[in-house]
């Protein structure tokens, strides 16, 4: 398995706005698939009502309420940055004159959406 040797896959990373957004996109993506596996596993206990109630009672704990807001942070980041990536891919948002700007506009939109969603979640605590 040495056929890949010498290929230029050791990229020189540059810490510009878009790269940082991309790193977070990867991290949040991995967290979300991990969450999906756990979530589906918990929901599968629905076939056993007592087991489901036990799982849900554990989730009433304030720690899980905070984790839920963390999940919203991760999910809203991934969703909104994903939309930005689509604009970069298909709508010319990667053009030099507006590339760095779109990352900052994205951070503002993300902050607004996150806070707007987090308030009703925290009001339920």
């Amino acid at each position: 398995m040495d056929w890949y040797r010498g290929r230029p896959h050791h990229i020189q990373y540059k810490w510009h706005e878009g790269f940082i957004a991309w790193v977070f996109h990867r991290i949040t993506g991995l967290l979300l698939i991990l969450y999906l596996f756990l979530h589906e596993w918990v929901i599968s206990t629905l076939q056993n009502p007592a087991g489901f109630q036990k799982a849900m009672a554990a989730l009433e704990n304030p720690v899980f309420k905070l984790l839920e807001v963390g999940l919203w942070l991760v999910a809203s980041y991934h969703a909104i940055n994903g939309l930005r990536v689509i604009l970069v891919n298909f709508a010319g948002a990667a053009e030099r004159e507006n590339y760095q700007g779109n990352v900052w506009i994205f951070w503002v939109i993300f902050a607004i959406v996150f806070v707007a969603g987090a308030i009703p979640m925290l009001m339920q605590v």
């Binding site: 993506g29 991995l30 698939i33 589906e40 599968s44 109630q53 849900m56 989730l59």
Partner: protein, 123 residues
């Protein structure tokens, strides 16, 4: 072994013949945004508690079965395709085949778990 090259390369990375999976990642991403908004609204804005009674009633309805199955299929596809992209970027040895195979199995198992949780559920 040269005749195997085309076959092997198909499974190596998005740089080779991965344009369809790249496009489907965008398509499934947009679909997930819509589905997630629906899911999020139901869980946090309708005021109903997330207990067995409410979740079971929702899961017993055919329309929600369709919604939830669509959601989980797109989410598993998008998530595991994302894992594949990570494998393609960071694993450059024979382990790539192992990890891709491993997550194929994990994906199919979770698809089966979703199907047997959602489809026969009567409440």
């Amino acid at each position: 072994m040269m005749y195997m090259r085309g076959f092997i390369d198909r499974y190596q990375g998005s740089g080779k013949g991965g344009d369809l999976s790249w496009l489907l990642q965008r398509v499934s991403g947009v679909a997930l945004l819509v589905l997630l908004l629906g899911h999020f609204f139901i869980e946090h804005f309708t005021g109903a508690p997330v207990d067995y009674q409410h979740v079971a009633a929702r899961l017993a309805s055919p329309l929600w079965k369709v919604f939830d199955l669509t959601f989980v299929v797109f989410a598993l596809y998008h998530g595991i395709n994302g894992i594949f992209m990570n494998i393609e970027d960071y694993v450059h040895s024979g382990w790539r085949v192992f990890w891709k195979g491993f997550f194929w199995v994990v994906g199919i198992l979770y698809l089966v778990l979703a199907a047997i949780t959602i489809l026969p559920f009567k409440g």
